[in-house]
Symmetry: C2
Subunit: 511 residues, 2 copies
């Protein structure tokens, strides 16, 4: 098994997962669309993410916020003042680049905390030139990534496209807290679009101007941050046997290590924070099935971490495609930064009553933030392999994330076979199984097409199907085949997809 050679962006386009926005107009930089196969996969990813994170506590919920928000929201959040990137400009040809990112690419140095002057100096001292015309960069300036919008018919009001989904849960916290059980921890999750006017979008779904996030904001009482009890249904000890793969800020020259939650608590991380790190790792390794050796939590230091965070580990996956670790999310202890900021600017009381002490307090926030499209990119990259013996790509996605659950292939062109196959296909669809019905080309070609988009099971209808009602199921990963009666097909495919049974248990093995 070797990695396929086609680059991922071409693969995604060729098979209808993802392609650039408005392509017939030459494409829009940093804007992407999902074809029907990609959309199916993204729908599954939404469901898998929600199922995992919302079931961590029975007081976690999904809400949906607006994309357009008023200016004061971003004054309070700090985005208008701080949501900047350093813009390097070549005066000769007008090219602009993100200064810290070209330095990272060329010199493998992270300079998230350098000033504009320092960045310009690093560029010039290291002979990093404009990629278009080869001149030296003349200026590094601060560029705010927010998209402003003129709102209303008289044009008097400036509003913004949200740069993250996080703000809505903060604005809505009080209302939702009162609507629900007035109980903490309370989790409010949003999967949705966010917009950033990125200086240099890159690597398709990795750095875009329009993209999706999946974020969970957990509101909690800071006095409980080191309690053994995380919530009514969860305890710190539940995760004590996990080994977290971390790179601490002072150990970047050392190899990655596996650390127990207790050790991380001794290192200084709160129990509440560490518990959710462990859950994030479970999601990455057990649900998305990213290989262990490709995953790490990367701790940011004081200069690097986002302005609102007290503790900040990036969730990183190593990309062969990009040849670097890629941030696909983060675990952010945002303290009371957000609620206090909004209380101050909106002049709305956001504190709540601690019934034990009789005192009011502002809840703190732990944010689990995922670049949802980055997860999707990662899934495709990590699970796409070229199979030498089959001589085709096999996309070994976790079964629940495969766009199509099962493909149905009538082997013979005669109407009676086609009709039986159609009827079997309809039965599967009625049982909420997503199918594709493929009648064209040799059976080998049909298997190859299905393998490449990750379809776990292919069902063939042949002479036996007409005679005795049996069909053949072929397994994507092993190419093993079994025979089964068609009346048991939907239930079997469902159980296989949900890992309730293994392939060999389902019927008579062939060969």
């Amino acid at each position: 098994m070797t990695m396929q050679k086609e680059d991922l962006t071409s693969f995604m386009k060729r098979r209808g997962f993802v392609y650039q926005g408005s392509e017939i107009y030459g494409g829009l930089t940093g804007i992407w669309e999902f074809g029907h196969i990609g959309k199916l996969m993204k729908n599954h990813l939404d469901n898998v993410w929600k199922k995992f994170f919302l079931s961590l506590d029975d007081n976690f919920y999904e809400i949906e916020g607006s994309i357009i928000m008023p200016e004061n929201v971003f004054k309070a959040s700090g985005h208008l003042d701080n949501f900047d990137d350093p813009l390097a400009e070549c005066f000769k040809c007008g090219t602009t680049e993100r200064a810290d990112k070209i330095i990272e690419e060329k010199l493998n140095r992270r300079e998230e905390s350098a000033t504009n002057e320092e960045l310009l100096k690093i560029l010039n001292e290291n002979n990093i030139k404009c990629s278009k015309c080869g001149s030296k960069f003349e200026k590094v300036s601060t560029f705010n990534m927010m998209f402003p919008l003129t709102f209303g018919p008289k044009g008097g009001q400036t509003v913004y496209l949200r740069p993250e989904t996080a703000q809505t849960p903060y604005l809505d916290f009080k209302h939702q807290y009162e609507l629900l059980r007035k109980k903490l921890p309370l989790g409010l999750a949003i999967i949705g679009k966010a917009f950033r006017n990125e200086i240099s979008p890159k690597h398709s779904l990795i750095r875009c101007r329009e993209f999706e996030q999946a974020e969970l904001q957990i509101f909690f009482n800071p006095k409980n941050i080191n309690d053994e009890k995380i919530s009514d249904t969860a305890n710190f000890s539940d995760i004590k046997n996990e080994k977290l793969i971390v790179m601490l800020q002072n150990e970047r020259d050392k190899p990655l290590k596996k650390v127990s939650p207790n050790e991380l608590v001794k290192y200084g991380l709160p129990k509440f924070y560490t518990y959710y790190m462990a859950k994030v790792q479970q999601y990455i390794l057990d649900i998305l099935k990213i290989p262990k050796e490709k995953f790490r939590f990367y701790e940011l230091n004081d200069k690097e971490k986002a302005f609102y965070n007290k503790n900040h580990f990036d969730i990183e996956v190593f990309s062969n495609e990009i040849n670097d670790w890629v941030e696909i999310g983060g675990v952010h202890y945002r303290t009371d930064h957000d609620l206090s900021g909004h209380e101050k600017v909106s002049k709305t009381k956001l504190s709540i009553l601690d019934e034990e002490t009789g005192k009011r307090f502002i809840p703190h926030v732990l944010e689990l933030s995922f670049g949802h499209w980055r997860s999707l990119y990662t899934l495709l990259e990590q699970h796409l392999h070229y199979d030498d013996s089959r001589q085709n790509n096999v996309l070994k996605l976790p079964k629940k994330l495969a766009p199509i659950n099962a493909s149905v292939f009538p082997l013979i062109k005669k109407p009676e076979f086609q009709n039986l196959a159609r009827q079997i296909n309809s039965d599967l669809i009625e049982n909420d199984i997503i199918t594709s019905f493929d009648t064209s080309g040799s059976i080998g070609k049909r298997y190859a097409r299905a393998d490449e988009i990750g379809t776990p099971y292919c069902i063939t209808i042949d002479h036996d199907s007409l005679k005795s009602g049996t069909v053949t199921i072929r397994d994507r990963d092993t190419t093993n085949q079994i025979k089964i009666h068609k009346d048991k097909l939907s239930e079997t495919i469902k159980n296989l997809t949900n890992d309730k049974i293994e392939f060999l248990q389902t019927g008579e093995k062939i060969k």
Copy 2:
């Protein structure tokens, strides 16, 4: 049964369905958010819409487009030139209003085709004054509803937020057609956000600046527009017994009538168009269960209909709340307007080969367009009743659209009952049933809370549950109760929700 008196917007906020965006900052005009209950309902509506419309043909698919699109897209589509509303201005206090809409409200006249001068004349002749200061309107001008955006770090490029989801399927048609079976009809659907800088947003989810559409674009060969065969799996005769509720453009002074598809074809509508009208009516009446007498197809005349349509019926529901018919969607025969426009401006060939004739042609488009949030508003309004005998609101939503499938109530506070109830709740959740677990207040109050958000089934755990493992299910609509063993609970709730069994079949009836 009488309608509840609280207005719908307050109800939606109080129960956590929908509320204004950024409320703690005073709220943003025309911007709305979904609380956790509303989000659950909207997720169900997404699923119900997709299940119905995508299964109309095995060549219909969901895709996802970008919100940001380049200027040329809207040059080609005609939106930059034509997507305007008439803006009436009061020079004295600066108030702006949508001229045609105040005329419609005050005079009950539709003036969608009047010029600005004519509108100003109508306003002044009928003594319609500024609602704020009482002065007469001085000017009616043309206002384009598109939201422009400055894109990229150098700010040189103007892009727009899409005003409808429709354009992406047109841009992607050729690519998707080739990826799929090169077969027509091909349907491409999008559920997603669209943005319009409305002059006067109104009635919460009905006229917003940020909202969601659910649109299906059906590409077909115009030579087949009057064929009996609609697709491989559908025929015009399948719907011949339907009676479509229509108001034709020349019969507006007459009562609504029920017309057979054949009569509509005689009237001049294409068979392809009429077939999908029938399907839309099935969706509204059978799936959303909007009462027949509140629904009509309303035909627009040449002056009123959108600039790109050859045939145009609005899908309308009568709102008691607004005291008028409200457009919740439309059936639009857009001809080759869109593909031809994009071919011309993008200089990309969008025609395809007709294998029978050997000639190339540009497919035509039939669009089924829904204001998705308008459907949600309509569902809440039409199904919310005040029940005099219960003395509480009952939201009689179709079961699949109810935010919560089942509520679990332990009747007794002792730990053994609470634990059993929690375990039963977990079993339900594991079977993908959405539950709420409510332990506070009298049983009557808990039923009332569940009724008001439309929860079809409430499950109580009592002494019998501990002794013999039975629980009681109570039906929202009849308040009838039955007993059932807890081991059969998940399956029963699922079958009830999917209308596979009726309430009385499920067990021993009480009383």
